[in-house]
Symmetry: C2
Subunit: 358 residues, 2 copies
């Protein structure tokens, strides 16, 4: 049985395409009291970009979402409750932000029509009812969250995605102008999410011609963006958005691997944001990802990004053990990386060893 | 304003995935008298493959579709009438065949819910009502018809697509095993459709980072398939299916160009099938597509395909003039190839000159 992969239904791509958002929303309105909820990363709260958000203040709602921490099931539960307090369900959600806001918007669109808490839906195909209409507008490029069928959340016992067909956005708007203002380090860490997606997708056991084609092209785009000293920022932003999109699609038909498993442990125990957690983990995985890790280090150097080092020296054995529990439990990632007999090749000790190298 | 590109909603890819067709159909059934119509290329009528088509003979209908000629608006009108004669509309259509059957299935899905004739809908966004559910199963790789928003038909006055969001398949099944039995020449001509799509998409004025990424990868896959002397047929079939898919998506965000315009003329006047018509036209376009034409000739040679030559010697001036009319009228293709001032660069005489070189 092959996966029956569901796509984002509609996609606009292009510089300035954010200006088409209101028309797209209005085309969805059926009744006069239909309204939309905007979920927007609160870093934009006092920015000029906030003025461009096409809210109808008399009936739409805008919620500033704080994503200083990784998105959690509690945060999703709270926001879902807030939306229920408005009375009638919104005609749609618009998520504007990085991968965290994308994932929060995706989760809430389902939680408003499925009784909570969100934590009970962490896993594959656990959502019963279709969610409400949702639009994703990424403000960072690289996560693939704009096309993926996963809303990754940290819950009481694990970091794991809510994954099903209903998770997928109905509409995305990919406007390279919006990602242009991302701070250098954040842009790099998020971009590396796409690079690592591709490496993990391409090198695992579940890949196929489909995931290979998307992964290879997305990887090449990342290389264009992060290894060229002459590429213009405009061209780089466009390419990085497409890399994120294609890398996300590559994963849908394949799977993430060792780096993401370790990264989830780091985020769960220490709250590291996903992009930087990936980068910290990838840096110790020469044994698994070989020349890709060297290439990644070239990118780090070229972009003068100073990765946190010697973290493990401050970690307790208990913290390392908890990270290892979280990582080891992500069977689908190990299965992809090593094949169905992954337990013969991957021990808790090996995972602990990697954490101690960070 | 950027295009708001609609995707095929669901896609299964993999060797043997055709066996999942019935489950996918059954999941759509809501009432006990729901039935499906299979539209199948009649070359399969006495083939072993026909036995694998999962028809429920007591209520589904199977229509063998003859595509010896290019699909026409008349053929679509006739088939639509036949389906109306069944009484209740089917729960869905399943198109199984090459690009012609794909386009016929796409057109009929809309014509059963929009009053005919089909010819009045040739153009952009002329269809008023959504069509019925439709599944595409390509048996040839290269046309991109499985993902495109166009159902190309020859009508009373022109060859032109019915193009709108409703044209897009709801589901496609990409099974490389099915394309494995295609005859060598047909496989080559159809594969070249993808190659030419990429060249036209990449070299025109409407391309962008999205169409470039898809077009470049699809082109590379074609090169892998048709320039390698060592690639296995299995790997080649998989890659060609993905090339077709990505090439089709590249076009959606860009446009076809000079070769397709000339090719439409050839098909309209002489009934040449689309794949071979493209190949005949591409072979005289050194001036426009330069090194790509040389590369294409290498592919021809490597695959020992003997392209028809010296055709123009048997054509009358009137026939050439009619082909030129058809080609010249395809403004969107010329606009893409040369830009909005294409009329200053492209004359009827130039088109006539190309036809005379064939």
């Amino acid at each position: 049985m092959y996966k029956n992969f569901k796509s984002v239904e509609k996609c606009v791509f292009g510089k300035g395409s954010f200006s088409q958002l209101r028309d797209i929303m209005d085309a969805r309105k059926k009744q006069t009291d239909d309204y939309f909820v905007f979920l927007v990363d609160d870093v934009f709260q006092d920015s000029p970009f906030a003025q461009q958000i096409p809210i109808h203040e008399d009936h739409d709602k805008l919620i500033w979402v704080n994503v200083d921490k990784e998105p959690s099931t509690w945060q999703v539960d709270e926001l879902t409750q807030q939306i229920h307090s408005y009375g009638k369900l919104p005609a749609g959600l618009v998520g504007i932000g990085g991968g965290s806001v994308m994932d929060i918007a995706k989760a809430i669109s389902m939680l408003v029509t499925n009784p909570g808490p969100a934590s009970q839906y962490q896993g594959l195909n656990l959502i019963k009812n279709p969610g409400i209409y949702k639009i994703g507008v990424p403000t960072l490029a690289g996560t693939g969250a704009e096309v993926s069928m996963t809303a990754v959340l940290t819950g009481p016992t694990k970091k794991l995605g809510i994954k099903c067909d209903y998770t997928i956005f109905d509409q995305i708007i990919l406007d390279p102008e919006i990602v242009a203002d991302a701070p250098t380090d954040q842009r790099f860490y998020t971009g590396m999410d796409s690079y690592i997606h591709c490496v993990e997708s391409l090198t695992g056991t579940k890949n196929n011609a489909f995931s290979m084609a998307f992964g290879e092209k997305a990887l090449e785009l990342c290389q264009d963006v992060f290894l060229s000293e002459t590429i213009s920022r405009t061209e780089a932003d466009e390419k990085l958005m497409i890399s994120s999109y294609m890398g996300g699609l590559s994963l849908t038909y394949s799977e993430v691997g060792v780096c993401h498993a370790l990264s989830y442990g780091l985020s769960f125990v220490f709250g590291y944001r996903h992009g930087i957690a990936n980068c910290i983990a990838f840096d110790v995985l020469d044994e698994v990802y070989g020349h890709y890790v060297n290439e990644y280090r070239q990118m780090l150097q070229l972009h003068k990004v100073h990765l946190p080092k010697n973290l493990a020296s401050t970690w307790t054995e208990d913290e390392i053990s908890r990270m290892t529990d979280v990582a080891y439990a992500l069977e689908h990632m190990w299965n992809h990386a090593y094949g169905p007999d992954w337990r013969t090749q991957l021990t808790r000790e090996k995972i602990i060893g990697w954490y101690k190298m960070m």
